[in-house]
């Protein structure tokens, strides 16, 4: 339950509080700009559509914000209007009632902005903390579990980051002069260093995660999803893909501010969820379409799969070979490895093993905890 005052400042502030609860980044600056924008042109207040659009432009800073805004706006202002209507019903004359009936909240904003002598009304509006779509959730993530996962993924990333070399690499950016190479370059010319060579520190390692979402790993799919979200939350240099019978890039679908929405989006996007597995074909697609963008000698590739495969084994061999040559390290995380008797008997796994740098179990939070303590790169 929230209470609000129905003067303009309080209206805007209250709506901003409401949006902030929905993970909108709104500060004093945005509130100020919104009020300034509304006072620019009377038309922005008179038209309900323009009023909504103005608030949207002032408060939305991403595509996700825009997508949610319309529902949130309608929901909030509907509640607001109800509260004002119930108040004005007793006090206003019939004419005033008619005047305020269409959009009381907007009328009050208008009166405040244009100094009309309209007495401010006070009302109480209530709203549910759940967004309209929350009821439709089939998937959800336990916050506590996710926090635990984040803790271990953070340790894992720290382990990887520690590998960062202190050496410099050549750079196009003119920040640090590589004196040795500059002297060598100018050695045949004059005694002046006319042409300079620059260097910079090597960048953080890049991570690529290729995650199996086929039927054979269905049991672990929630665990894998949480791993994806944790990686995206903690590292900016991560690319995430899922595969079953085809490959999907999920990096953009994961919104770290709205984990449950990310899950819904991912489940919608992946058509082959819990279907068969074609690792070779998926790797082939990855190498053709994404490897030039995501893979270099600074990349650690995580492949999460049990190795069960119904596709072409020679494609696995070919693409794992190519991948191992392009990236720094391939770490294969296999949930079946938890079983001590497990042997890489399936064809897919056998084809991949020669190119894997590390093969580790990955089936629960304990396995992640163990992995986080290991020296991975």
């Amino acid at each position: 339950m929230i209470q609000r005052q129905t003067n303009l400042t309080a209206n805007i502030l209250s709506f901003c509080h409401y949006l902030r609860d929905k993970d909108y980044y709104i500060g004093f600056q945005e509130e100020k700009e919104c009020l300034a924008s509304l006072s620019l042109d009377p038309g922005l207040i008179r038209s309900a559509d323009l009023f909504k659009l103005t608030l949207e432009i002032c408060f939305c800073k991403s595509k996700r914000d825009i997508e949610l805004f319309s529902d949130l706006f309608d929901h909030y202002w509907k509640e607001l209007e109800r509260a004002v209507d119930s108040k004005t019903k007793d006090e206003d004359s019939p004419t005033e009632q008619m005047k305020n009936k269409q959009s009381p909240a907007i009328n009050q904003l208008r009166s405040w902005l244009f100094n009309e002598d309209n007495v401010e009304q006070i009302g109480t509006a209530s709203y549910s903390s759940h967004s309209p779509n929350d009821n439709q959730l089939g998937l959800s993530v336990d916050e506590k579990e996710l926090q635990e996962m984040l803790k271990y993924v953070n340790s894992l990333l720290s382990q990887i980051a520690r590998k960062r070399t202190r050496r410099y690499t050549d750079s196009k950016r003119k920040k640090l002069i590589n004196l040795r190479r500059s002297i060598r370059k100018n050695i045949l010319g004059s005694d002046e260093l006319l042409q300079l060579v620059y260097k910079e520190k090597k960048k953080d390692l890049r991570i690529v995660l290729l995650c199996d979402v086929s039927k054979s790993v269905e049991l672990y799919s929630m665990f894998f999803l949480k791993f994806m979200i944790s990686l995206k939350s903690l590292s900016k240099r991560v690319e995430i893909f899922s595969f079953a019978t085809s490959l999907h890039r999920l990096t953009e679908e994961i919104d770290i501010r709205d984990v449950n929405k990310s899950l819904r989006t991912i489940s919608r996007k992946i058509k082959s969820w819990s279907g068969g597995t074609k690792i070779g074909e998926a790797l082939d697609e990855f190498m053709k379409d994404y490897s030039h963008k995501c893979i270099n000698k600074n990349t650690v590739v995580f492949i999460v799969s049990d190795g069960w495969d119904t596709g072409a084994v020679d494609l696995i061999d070919k693409n794992m070979n190519a991948l191992s040559q392009k990236c720094m390290k391939i770490i294969w995380l296999n949930p079946l490895l938890a079983n001590e008797d497990w042997k890489p008997e399936v064809a897919g796994m056998q084809a991949a093993i020669p190119y894997i740098d590390l093969l580790l179990p990955f089936h629960n939070i304990e396995s992640l905890k163990t992995m986080a303590k290991m020296k991975l790169v």
Partner: protein
Amino acid sequence: MLNWNSTNHVKEELIKQEYLSTDSIDLAIYLSSKLNKPLLIEGPPGVGKTEIAKCLAKIAQVDLIRLQCYEGLGVEHAIYEWNYQSQLLALRLMDSEQNSLEEKEAHIFSDKYLLKRPLLQSISSDKSSVLLIDELDRSDEEFESYLLEILSDWQISIPELGTIKAKTVPTVIITSNRTRDLSEALRRRCIYMWIDYPEFDKELSILQTKMPNINQKLAEQICLFMKELRQLQLKKSPSIAESLDWAFALSEMHYEHLDKQIIEDTLGIVLKDWQDLRDSQDSLSELLERVGVVQKLSS
């Protein structure tokens, strides 16, 4: 420079430049101008993000200064750079003169040896301009941080010269294709706008505005086909730019309507990915039949 009276004024001026906008585009341009804030435009490639900057420059009759971003873009290519070779030469020439070290330093670190790159150019110019920072998502986060000072305070700090404040505040348009998320700090300094693929009617109007002589039936069929094509799971969905290219090509070849053969022959203009091309060609008949385009085309 851009003194808008209302959102309608924005719309009218954009129409004069043959840019058909939506209410949200008009309002975003109006507010960014009035609040003196950069306009951050996101959306899929080819929907007209860059075109907005070009139109604004034409409307205001000022220069369009464009900074094309890429991975590894740094201060020296975006803001300023000292002309090192000229500085060396100047020092050599000054050897014979009796100048003090301070005087020499002041001379070689003066405006004469400063190479102004787009960002510095736009804020140090006496004339106002439209600054287009194109595809910012391609640059590194480090570069985004450099932008923060410019976008919030309209000034650039050069260690050897001090802080250069903007003589005229440029109209700044930033575009991004969302290959990576831009920082919250940058977003908060901008008015945000998302441009999506246009609806059928809008796309038809765009075709007719840009190509007044196009056959009405052909234009409708192109827009309808594009709309259906965008529903498919393609790696790179065709945008307005592709629609225009396709319409132009078909008009040049004097086609008055679409049929399967024409589509197959010219699909390369619309789809720019080999996999997309193969997938769509394989299922073209099915696609046309399913979406009812075949009946429309043959009628």
